[in-house]
Amino acid sequence: MKYVDEFRARDLAEKLARQIAHEARPDQDYHFMEFCGGHTHAIFRYGVQDLMPDNVEFVHGPGCPVCVLPVRRLDDAVELAEKFGVILCTYGDMMRVPGTKQRSLIRAKADGADVRMIYSTQDALKIARENPDREVVFFAIGFETTTPPTAVAILQAEAEGLKNFSVFCNHVLTPAAIAHLLDSDDFAPDGPARIDGFLGPSHVSTVIGSKPYEGAAEKYDKPVVIAGFEPLDVMQSVLMLIRQVNEGRHEVENEYTRVVTREGNKKAQALVDKVLEVRDDFEWRGLGTVAFSALKIRDAYAFFDAEKRFDVSEKRSRETKSCECPAILRGVKKPTECKLFGTVCTPDNPMGSCMVSSEGACAAYWTYGRFRDGNKTGAKRPEAAE
């Protein structure tokens, strides 16, 4: 396939692998966090780890929008669908995430709630137009990549006078999370994960640019390389990170130049800024409460804010006991270090969000990588390519 195969070319991968092995110093370990679930997915799906020398390790980050949504917000969504009888429009991944007492949207749907899986905000608007006598709520989740479409949907609803459409806004921000991960005081007793550098978000950066990471790179002395989602992008970015570490640099570099600029997409930023504003703080699964890390709907558009339109109740939401999603999302633990992994928690019966989304580290380990070290299935790693 044109414009895709080029970034998955085996001969180039082998060449890059040799270069990485050559430049990685044998007396040093390299721990690089891929922030995005998209990178985690690519690393496992293409077997990128197999092309890395033993002293280069990927630490899986929290950049999976489904994974970091706290249970309470999911419980709120279930309540919107069940108690308030709205048509709840959600992206597919969110359907299977278990909330308190394993209650998920897919269970609520089976019990009669009107939950609809959509592919874009435009689908939610269409459903609102077609059901003028029903309240339609769009369950907005995601990082900066998905915020402009949410902003546009609200502006469209306003322009069309769609009175039955509102947004349950759960958009979160990447740079705040990266800084939070590096703040050593916050994660007693485990402390923060060891991270020598970041593979920076690709799609997020198309919107916000590479500039917003410069503060964290400078403050915490960590190199960041904005990396595309194709496997060759990941490998090239690892090489760039190794070079920065070796040379003692901690800059924001951009491997994904075919799409990302330093300034980002100004038009998209302006649209988001018109409709949404930064929250003082927001709860993340795994990271706890993070200051200035999420967006809410501005007062000028309060009419479209589901949190204001519906009086959702205070809840005592609970994570599944023993689920290590929080430590896994911070990169402190690996999925295989969770007691539930592969025993009671599998994609068939997920106990935590990281096992649901294909971008979650647990799902990636289970789906693509369970022959690797530390697996519980007893299977062996495949022989090297012949």
């Binding site: 396939m1 991944d93 689908d123 693509y368 007893g378 495949p382 390519a385």
Partner: protein, 344 residues
Amino acid sequence: MNALERPARLTGSVDMTHGGGGRAMADLIRDLFQRHLSNAFLDQGNDAALLPAETGRLVVSTDGHVISPLFFPGGDIGSLSVHGTLNDVAMAGAKPLYLTAGFILEEGFPLADLERIVISMATAAREAGVPIVTGDTKVVEKGKGDGVFITTTGVGTVPDGVEISAKRVKPGQAVLISGSIGDHGVAILSKRENLEFETEIRSDSAALHTLVAAMVEAVPGIAMLRDPTRGGLSATLNEIAHAAQIGMKLDEAAIPLKPDVHAACELLGLDPLNVANEGKLICICEAGDAEKLLAVMRAHPKGADAAIIGHVVEDDACLIQMETGFGGARVVDWLAGEQLPRIC
């Protein structure tokens, strides 16, 4: 002119009288089903079709079809209900002989659409050379069905010496596929109301029994045949691996995939390995027979893009492992539930 010869009433839509056992039902059967599906067995007009006894081993398979949308590029529920069951019978290495069809119609379903579906079934059955010998029609109230559901049953005979069974799958054997993966699932997804592509991807819905006949004639010792329908290639291979208590090693670069299907899957965040097929088969045979079988498959129009995609290995964990086109390794897992698109 007797009462049964009154004109057809194929305008309008299905109503409760069409399932009531009265004259309206008799009219529908005669003017629609019998008219298009006519053959010597169906035309006996009895409750049960009287068929000549067969010698040897019989196979029988049944399959319900509830697809939405009913009409899609490359087929419709009618042709699909014929192909699907013919293929299930053929996957026993059998020659399909007869089909039956049961219809559940929803009140209000347009009769013109029903006729289109029945004509499509008739065409598919005629092309396959397998008659639909008996059938049934029921009508349910509006809201209790989704237009039309069709259940078909197929009967066939297995040639002597052919033993298709997961129990015969052993390490060292070769894994073959008859063509490109994911065409049907992507064609259906692209037609569902909320997804539209500019280019039309067509379902691969097709009857595979003549391909199977050529294969078992050339290599009667084929160990396993299976059509990778729901859940795609990954589900089918995992089912076989668990049934046979073996693992498999695949070569991603060898798995045929059309560029437009690949592109649609990229866009939707789907893995083509998990996407449904309706005109493809997986074959597992002794390694020494693989090249011969591949040549036979490629010589048949339904197997022109056939490929050897991997081999069977010993593995207590029954994993399907794959060397990726990129040069790494991964597991090919089956899906937990329905394949859902990723978010970003």
